[in-house]
């Protein structure tokens, strides 16, 4: 199997698995218990927390809160800030190409009285710091922007956005300040993330995008930012998220993030070269194909290409038949009527957005894997175009 869907999830790496097993078999005690076995479990969680804090250059490890997923971290961050300030301010700024975890949380908040601005993006899926600054109103509570887009891989100018918010906050009283939230789920462990450089207040991380297990995420919350309890229960996560911790997942995430940081530079160089090789070859070999997202300001792992006159699901089925795993932004694969909201926001018409293919490279991807794709993909596209009534009529049809 050639796995090119690493933006969806990754394989748990051996070092992570080894670390996790220890905390399911030998050290399985509940970290809230008082016997010695339990305290070593607690220590292991603290070590993981420390590793995550270090990976994003947080000042203190107690600025890290563990969650059950990246989506949970996003929900927690946005709702916490929104609820805290509901009495006085109700405006949230985000972008049109956020993950559904952000968009649907904002849509929900709209139903309970908040006002949300969805900033449009350019053809690459980019917003500017100026756009954010222009959208800020006296009642703006928060700006929520993703660091790197999961579909098209575009890296947003989040540091500049952080600067713009900081500048505006300098003119405001402390109680009127605007909070800055970043969904860094596709970024952490892949590209450098420094919470101080970014000037971010809250930042969401996921474990399974960096070769840790599914079911664990984390939320960075800058010291001084009030975080509401999200799951009421026991005193876990300093009373803010009840429920016995996913100890093995947390320990594994610590190991994964530490390794990801250590290997980042070498991986980035390797994956960028593989990415550009794949993009160049596909665009060269397949007519009527176009790269989505920014050519250079993009994740080293992301390849996203539109093939005109065909629909994405067919590509995935045929790639799967050839043992290649990938994903698409077509309506059929999104489970809704519309194709990817990201591609639509970037200005692609519906009919073209249906024909997108995302191939996301991982640390174990080889050039041979990509050569197989480069061999079979042109035949697949050719075949689907033969079936498509739009191909023959392409001059007039679309």
């Amino acid at each position: 199997m050639i796995y090119l869907d690493n933006a969806a999830t990754t394989q748990v790496r051996q070092e992570v698995l080894d670390a996790m097993i220890e905390y399911m078999r030998e050290n399985y005690a509940n970290p809230s218990s008082i016997y010695q076995n339990a305290s070593c479990v607690k220590v292991a969680m603290d070590v993981a927390r420390e590793k995550i804090a270090r990976a994003i250059n947080a000042d203190h490890s107690n600025e890290i809160f563990f969650t059950g997923s990246g989506t949970e971290a996003i929900n927690w961050a946005i709702k916490s800030i929104a609820y805290e300030l509901f009495e006085n301010r109700k405006h949230i700024i985000t972008t049109a190409i956020e993950h559904h975890a952000v968009l649907h949380t904002c849509k929900y908040l709209e139903t309970v009285g908040y006002d949300v601005t969805y900033l449009p993006v350019d053809e690459y899926g980019m917003v500017t710091a100026q756009q954010v600054a222009n959208a800020i109103r006296p009642d703006t509570i928060m700006v929520a922007v993703m660091m790197a887009n999961n579909e098209v891989g575009t890296i947003m100018p989040v540091a500049e956005i952080g600067q713009a918010i900081k500048k505006i906050n300098e003119t405001r009283n402390r109680e009127d300040r605007i909070y800055f939230f970043i969904d860094a789920i596709q970024a952490v462990g892949h590209i450098p993330v420094d919470v101080n450089e970014l000037g971010v207040d809250l930042l969401a991380i996921s474990g399974h995008k960096i070769y840790a297990a599914k079911g664990v995420g984390a939320l960075y919350v800058r010291r001084g930012v009030k975080l509401m309890p999200f799951i009421h229960g026991g005193g876990q996560e300093r009373g803010r998220r009840g429920g016995t911790e996913n100890v093995a997942g947390i320990v594994g995430m610590g190991v994964a993030i530490e390794l990801a940081i250590k290997e980042m530079q070498a991986e980035n160089e390797k994956q960028t070269a593989l990415r550009d090789y794949l993009i160049t070859q596909i665009l060269e070999k397949i007519p009527y194909s176009k790269l989505n997202g920014h050519p250079t300001k993009r994740l080293p792992s992301n390849v996203n290409i539109i093939f005109d006159y065909i629909e994405g699901e067919g590509i995935l089925l045929m790639l799967d038949f050839n043992g290649i795993c990938a994903s698409s932004g077509s309506a059929c694969t999104s489970g809704s009527l519309d194709p990817s909201h990201v591609l639509l926001a970037m200005g692609l018409p519906h009919e073209r957005a249906h024909g997108s293919l995302r191939l996301s490279i991982g640390k174990d991807t080889t050039k041979e894997d990509l050569d197989k794709v480069i061999d079979v993909l042109p035949k697949i596209i050719e075949r689907l175009r033969q079936i498509s009534p739009l191909w023959e009529e392409k001059e007039g049809a679309i």
Binding site: E311, G314, L317, F321, C332, P339, H354, I387, P389
Partner: protein
């Protein structure tokens, strides 16, 4: 997700292509929604029997499979027998479709009816039980 039969008809579509000088052509769906079916029929004017049917489809695996199997279901049949092909019979012939893909079988039924309507228009005849197809700008995805 798909039955073996759907995958078979997607990977090895029967009757894919066009018919030159077809007696009738039906076109349903639109690119915006992500599926278009074009159906070509060769009909014996004397007997009203569909001698041949071919299709071209822009769409997902289910859209290709439903178009392909529906051509098989009408070849050799009379116009009236072809009108009896419904989305339910197409779905059944494929051993079922995922709920989100049932609209593809509706599109297949509509493609047959659209082609037969084209035939009736060209010949200036009325086919019992066949009404003018509705515009397909917003075909029904909620079936």
């Amino acid at each position: 997700m798909y039955t073996e039969k759907v995958m078979d008809y997607f990977m090895n579509p029967r009757n894919m292509g066009e018919i030159e000088d077809a007696s009738a052509v039906g076109l349903v769906g639109n690119a915006k929604c992500g599926d278009i079916m074009k159906m070509f029929l060769d009909i014996d004017d004397e007997t009203g029997i569909i001698r041949n049917a071919k299709f071209k489809t822009f769409g997902c695996g289910a859209a290709v499979a439903t178009s392909s199997i529906s051509t098989e279901m009408i070849i050799g049949k009379t116009i009236h027998e072809a009108l009896a092909v419904t989305n339910a019979s197409v779905t059944e012939a494929l051993d079922g479709l995922p709920p989100l893909k049932v609209h593809c079988s509706v599109l297949a039924e509509e493609a047959i009816r659209s082609a037969l309507w084209d035939y009736a228009q060209k010949k200036g005849i009325t086919i019992e039980g066949l009404e003018e197809p509705k515009t397909t700008d917003h075909h029904n995805h909620d079936v």
